[in-house]
Amino acid sequence: MSVLLFTLIVLIGAFLAGFLGSLTGLGGGVIIIPLLTLGLGVDIHYAIGASIISVIATSTGSAAAYVKEGLTNMRIGMFLEIATTVGAILGAIIAVYLNAAYVAVIFGCILIFSSIMTLKKKVDHTTLDYTSKGAKFFKLNGSYPLNGMVKPYAVKNVAGGFFMMLFAGTLSGLLGIGSGALKVIAMDNIMRLPFKVSTTTSNFMMGVTAAASAVVYLHRGQIDPGIAMPVCIGVLIGASVGAKVLVNAKTDKLKMIFAVVVSILAIQMIYKGLSGGF
């Protein structure tokens, strides 16, 4: 295949990945990696390097808007970034020593888990119980704008959230994805943040987390300009268009279809990993 044709195919694929990833909340990385590896026969190391770059581009782009709206809790973000960046570097180092087949299998499992998470109905765990000492010490309790009012929230179980973030960061670094699903679990279920705050704060942290592991991948020679270029351009444009469409779209059915497609991809990744295809 010529470089020109490859670039065009990847551009279109990355656009779709970014578009669907932003509509469903799954993120572009989880789709672009199977596309590159299963669809175009690209070595998974290059796919992960390109994907992590696209994670930086999309999360930074959307974080800009959320931060200005005052939805993001920057203190929680900064505090948890200690965990996610350490995890991200750890994950990127583990990836060097781990057989590509294992990486593919873990990727498939996380993919299935993430798609189930997008289908699950969200339960609001927010509380106004200001008893957490950690939250008080680190000044994590906050408030956010909701329907024209300022709504306060209390943060719980800071240590639990911190360790979950360490894990999320490790997977992000290992697999080259944003691992938003795990970050949201840590913040929604464990730390009891409101959805709007947890999703936007998770987005805010993703850029720094991905940058930390991208640096390791860069030094490892996994960020190839010929692949990373069309991937990040395509995913970013796709995600921006997706965010615009999202405002008017009914996403329930789409999420369902998408979860099925993604699960099929995931099973293929796992199968190919187990059968020695990587």
Binding site: V42, T60, A64, V67, G221, P225, A228, I233
Partner: protein
């Protein structure tokens, strides 16, 4: 309490938001520009991505990328744009540290410095081998 401080969280939010957006626009502009040169140079060549090798990508360090960007070779310009993209969230951390300092929230100055130190340690290349 916000009115007793010169710099408020709201100011920081607006500043950080602008920085992030500008960083993405500039770096993606560089990537697109480099991508066009890259396709002009290599468009007709065959791709070779089936097997990973450490030596296929030549520009792997910050120093090497900065040293080569002015050759205006496609790959060098794309890598430079990608590096700028990587720097954008890092610059955001730096800016947040300065803002928290002006806001006299020293706990978060320290937390920001820890995050920065972790990334800087990684940037120096110490973890890649």
């Amino acid at each position: 309490m916000a009115e007793t401080k010169n710099i408020t969280d709201k100011d920081i939010q607006s500043l950080v938001g602008n920085l992030l957006r500008t960083g993405v626009y500039i770096s993606m502009g560089i990537v697109v520009f480099g991508g066009m040169i890259y396709l002009y140079e290599h468009g007709t060549e065959k791709i070779d991505y089936a097997e990973f090798s450490f030596n296929k990508v030549s520009l792997k360090t910050v120093e090497a990328i900065f040293a080569n960007v002015l050759t205006f070779k496609g790959a060098a310009v794309v890598q430079f744009g990608l590096l700028m993209l990587i720097f954008t969230p890092i610059a955001r951390v730096l800016m947040a540290i300065v803002s928290f300092f002006l806001e006299k929230d020293y706990l978060y100055v320290v937390i920001g410095l820890i995050v920065l130190a972790i990334i800087m340690a990684s940037l120096s290349g110490g973890f890649a081998h």
